[in-house]
């Protein structure tokens, strides 16, 4: 059961507001870096180390994890923090909602109808495209310093200049490309 734009918009807006009222605005994409850092540190425990001279108390041999006084390094070392648990809970919330509406139909689990209409139903094609898209989306999100949640939703809510710069870039690329890539509606 998908909500009308009026109900859905007001309720989703209430969640954005609750987040900033109680703690801080919503955001997701940083946690891809934190998860990568956790995996990397599990394989090589010299990646993130305690360091009393750093502002966060942690340092990393990786320049990105080490930036801003090692704040990402600290989150890699202590993943049970607000932002990481927030993303895990987001996945849980989405799973519960999907279960309550009877789950995603089997035919849609590999690809949406609009993909099938334009590119056929070979799963490998969809998966290849999804993997490559995931790569450029997260590379772009980290370059931008945030994604659709942090920049677009939270940023526009707060009148951040960066939100408008981000939205200009994102829609300038996304709308023409979607029109070109998907000539058939479904």
């Amino acid at each position: 059961m998908i909500l009308s734009w009026k109900t859905g918009g007001v309720l989703l807006g209430a969640v954005f507001f609750a987040a900033v009222l109680l703690i801080k605005p919503v955001g997701v994409s940083t946690q891809f870096v934190i998860f990568d850092g956790i995996l990397w540190d599990a394989v090589d425990d010299t990646v993130v180390v305690e360091n009393k001279d750093s502002k966060s108390g942690y340092a990393s041999s990786n320049a990105y994890l080490n930036k801003s006084g090692g704040k990402y390094a600290k989150n890699v070392a202590n993943p049970w923090n607000y932002s990481f648990v927030f993303v895990l809970a987001m996945m849980g919330g989405a799973a519960v909602s999907a279960m309550m509406r009877g789950g995603v139909p089997a035919a849609e689990r590999t690809m949406p109808p609009v993909w099938r209409a334009n590119y056929g139903d070979a799963p490998w094609k969809r998966h290849l495209a999804a993997f490559a898209a995931g790569f450029i989306v997260l590379y772009g999100a980290r370059l931008a310093g945030g994604c659709t949640s942090g920049h677009m939703m939270s940023g526009a809510m707060q009148t951040s200049l960066s939100a408008y710069i981000f939205m200009a870039g994102a829609f300038l690329a996304a709308i023409p490309l979607a029109i070109i890539l998907y000539p058939k509606e479904a």
Partner: protein
């Protein structure tokens, strides 16, 4: 401890709502981006507007702590990164949050997208020093700029002297008006619902 409880409650509510507004469905996202199904665009514009109005009223009434605001840095990389994100968003119909949420609802392409995302984030970590050397990360307008001046914060203002709370309230109402004014679709057979109803 309290912060972890808040993370669970707010995170779960966010994920639940993403699914309920159709954002975990890549067909809905692609329909929005190819302008043939603007239901989700209306929903998100209304959500941003509602949150903005509540936030700035809350700030004016001292119900919201300005220290909770988190304005991000502005720099040219935000635009370039936005272009990249937009391209992938159009190809897959997922963004970082909805890809993970979709994977959790049982969509395999959402899982594959998220794995690609982990690889992309790792590539950024590896290339960060080189990206920084290009100058793309140099702050614009003093860095963490908001459009107006926000009381109780040190964020620089793009329009110095304009009270940021009132500007935020006006822009919030503007987002609501855009949400109401947007038609159901801009392309495809007008008056006909997108296949599978307004949200498929």
């Amino acid at each position: 401890m309290t912060t972890i409880v808040l993370a669970i409650v707010i995170g779960a509510a966010f994920g639940f709502m993403l699914d309920r507004v159709g954002a975990t469905n890549p067909g809905v996202i692609i329909g929005m981006l190819r302008l043939s199904n603007l239901h989700l665009m209306k929903t998100i514009m209304l959500a941003i507007g509602t949150a903005s109005v509540l936030l700035f009223m809350g700030l004016m009434l001292d119900l919201v702590d300005p220290g909770h605001l988190d304005v991000k840095d502005a720099y040219w990389g935000v635009f370039v990164g936005g272009l990249l994100l937009g391209a992938g968003f159009a190809i897959a119909g997922y963004c970082p949050g909805t890809g993970l949420a979709a994977a959790a609802t049982g969509r395999w392409d959402g899982l594959v997208f998220s794995l690609g995302g982990l690889a992309g984030a790792a590539a950024y970590m590896a290339s960060y020093a080189d990206v920084k050397a290009t100058g793309l990360l140099e702050p614009l307008m003093g860095g963490k700029a908001a459009l107006g001046t926000l009381g109780g914060t040190k964020y620089p203002a793009v329009f110095a002297g304009v009270p940021g709370e009132w500007l935020g309230l006006v822009l919030g109402i503007g987002f609501v008006i855009v949400a109401v004014a947007l038609p159901d679709r801009l392309r495809g057979p007008m008056g006909r619902e997108a296949p599978g109803g307004p949200t498929a």
